[in-house]
């Protein structure tokens, strides 16, 4: 019996690889995938979970996989998530998709899962354990892309105000490192001030309002997302000209941008990670269970909104939410291919 299933499996696998366009779903129909999530307390994470439910719900009802359940820890703590992952091993899942509380503190639990023959795919908050797959975001590239845009938009350069995220979180370090690398490449720009906006509009507004009186004329504000609207409010409240502020795909930011664009022809760009990256992780896990060869490290593209795509993005973004894309199986295959 076992030998027989193994034989059919290998057969189906070889068919799947030879006929790349033919969806070889039969192999994963009985597989169960779990999402282990460390935090659900902001709009980005809510959108991430909604995307997961939407895409995996369709996948389960069409028989691609048997189950795709979500588990979120009650407190954003690594030890709690490690226990959760060990519970998922005991619950018999075939693959665990993880958004991790810590890149290292879950490694022991992840290794236990790998040893039990479970496929582990981490995304956004990735884990460093070598046996896991990583869908990493190029945060440094995201920071640098802001300077690429600015050097085209304002060739003469000028003073920059940098908004940073939550201190001590590696995402903040990465984006900031990318921004500083971009400044080093474009010496006509100079960062004259830097404040922590904690990726929250109200915090950003207070922080910018605090530093603004001490700053010379600002040509542009480089940001990390979730802080652009608050910065704009601070500039307006201080009675200063609102400079070019890079936005972060949040609905309030896009709405403000649209209003300014209609009123004064304001131009900027917006960049962030689509919360739907969770669905990419799902399809990658499904592909690995299906027997596809997947490199351990994949890179997810970031979602950029330009002057031309603003209206379209604004329309599809929910009030209070973040601009989003949900990934398909073909997107996952393309991502895997480009990372090979």
């Amino acid at each position: 019996m076992n030998k027989f299933t193994l034989a059919t499996l290998t057969l189906a696998l070889s068919m799947g690889t030879t006929l790349a366009t033919f969806p070889a779903f039969a192999d994963t129909a009985s597989k169960k995938i779990a999402l282990s999530n460390n935090y659900a307390g902001n709009s980005w994470r809510q959108a991430m979970l909604t995307s997961w439910d939407k895409v995996t719900g369709a996948a389960v009802s069409s028989g691609v996989v048997a189950a795709a359940d979500t588990f979120t820890t009650a407190e954003n703590q690594a030890t709690e998530q490690a226990a959760q992952i060990q519970n998922l091993i005991l619950q018999g899942y075939d693959a665990i998709v993880i958004n991790a509380a810590s890149p290292t503190a879950l490694n022991g639990a992840v290794k236990e899962a790998c040893d039990a023959g479970i496929v582990v795919v981490s995304f956004d908050g990735i884990v460093t354990e070598p046996c896991a797959y990583r869908i990493a975001v190029d945060f440094a590239g995201m920071g640098k892309s802001q300077l690429d845009y600015l050097s085209e938009k304002i060739p003469d350069g000028g003073n920059l105000l940098e908004l940073r995220g939550l201190a001590g979180v590696f995402v903040d370090d990465e984006i900031s490192a990318g921004i500083h690398a971009g400044v080093a490449e474009n010496p006509q720009f100079k960062i004259v001030g830097s404040v922590h906006g904690d990726w929250a509009q109200d915090v950003a507004q207070k922080a910018v309002a605090g530093i603004l009186p001490s700053l010379p004329e600002i040509a542009a504000v480089v940001t990390q997302g979730g802080d652009g609207y608050g910065s704009a409010q601070a500039f307006a409240a201080a009675g200063r000209d609102v400079p070019l502020i890079i936005m972060g795909n949040r609905h309030d930011e896009l709405l403000w941008w649209k209003e300014q664009k209609d009123a004064t022809g304001y131009e900027t760009m917006s960049v962030s990670i689509a919360p739907g990256v969770s669905t990419l992780a799902f399809w990658v896990a499904q592909q690995i269970l299906d027997g596809a060869t997947v490199p351990q490290d994949l890179t997810v593209p970031f979602l950029k909104i330009t002057q031309d795509t603003l209206e379209e993005s604004l329309e599809t973004t929910q009030a209070g939410g973040v601009a989003n894309v949900e990934y398909t199986l073909d997107d996952a295959k393309a991502t895997i291919k480009s990372s090979m």
Partner: protein
């Protein structure tokens, strides 16, 4: 008399009920691997709970436990691995600081909650200095210790029994333990008996520091790498573990075996709720409910004891 015995058995009884429920919901846990996965993360929590218990035994409360264990984890994943001698020196120094904190609290008559809360920021800051971004690697021997597979009984169970046994001997059977509990119960009578309260308190804090150091090292042995925020939950978990295990906040009334059982119960309660598929929004509440049920049972037993005794 019988209610007193019942009260001592309550923690073990709660653990047994939870364990049977977990076995029933998820039969896969009823195996060598299953038990180990259920309880291995409880081992460092049990050690931290014993550490907290030693502080509670002298009527104080340590709010820096989580930050301190995180700090130790960072030292273990860096210095203790790369330069073992320096690592041991740092950890010995940290235990010394714990003793000093105990002395400071006693000499200046400061509230322990305030001092240890302050210390939690010191330990947290040092942890970030040592390991600015998550990483490092566990010493091989710590990794081996937590991965070892003794025949018959999983490592997590062996370790829990060992910890409970050693702590029981130290706190309930040795003269050192009697004096520490005496300080919690009646400081002046211990003083009249010729003991230096200063040194007893320093020793209680130092031994708490020692158990917390073990907790940090074994935690890194489990996770393989450290993070400056890795054990922040341990502060509240350790306090809850002591109380769940039959300890009292005052009077030197503590139970080491109960404390280890309390730590195991808390860990198991999380798995139980997860297996029940209770939504995370309700999990904190449900965990609280389990705590309240156990404590309510204890209050009931206390009442009946008072009624019968007087």
């Amino acid at each position: 008399m019988t209610s007193d015995r019942l009260r001592q058995l309550l923690p073990a009884f709660s653990l047994a009920v939870l364990l049977i429920s977990v076995f029933y919901i998820q039969p896969r846990t009823m195996s060598y691997l299953g038990l180990n996965l259920l309880f291995n993360l409880a081992v460092p929590i049990a050690l931290a709970t014993i550490a907290q218990m030693l502080i509670i035994a002298v009527n104080d409360l340590d709010l820096s436990m989580g930050a301190f264990v995180s700090f130790v984890a960072c030292v273990a994943a860096t210095y203790l691995r790369d330069t073992p001698l320096l690592g041991v020196l740092i950890l010995a120094g940290a235990i010394g600081v714990y003793a000093l904190v105990g002395i400071l609290i006693y000499v200046r008559n400061l509230p322990a909650i305030v001092v240890t809360l302050g210390m939690s920021f010191v330990w947290g800051g040092l942890a970030v200095l040592i390991l600015p971004s998550p990483g490092g690697a566990a010493p091989d021997w710590a990794r081996w210790l937590m991965k070892t597979k003794p025949p018959g009984i999983p490592m997590a169970i062996v370790a829990s029994i060992l910890i409970a046994g050693i702590a029981h001997f130290l706190v309930m059977r040795s003269s050192f333990g009697v004096v520490i509990r005496g300080v919690g119960g009646n400081e002046r009578s211990v003083e009249r008996a010729g003991w230096s309260i200063l040194w007893v308190r320093a020793a209680a804090y130092a031994s708490a520091g020692f158990f917390a150091v073990l907790a940090g090292i074994l935690l890194v042995g489990l996770t393989t790498a450290a993070d400056a925020n890795i054990a922040l939950r341990y502060t509240l978990l350790s306090i809850a573990g002591v109380i769940l295990g039959g300890g009292e906040f005052t009077g030197g009334r503590v139970s080491p075996i109960g404390a280890v059982i309390g730590a195991l119960t808390l860990t198991l309660a999380g798995s139980f709720l997860s297996f029940l598929r209770i939504s995370s929004d309700w999990q904190i509440g449900a965990q609280g409910a389990i705590l309240i049920i156990v404590l309510a049972l204890r209050v009931l037993l206390n009442r009946s004891k008072q009624g019968a005794g007087d």
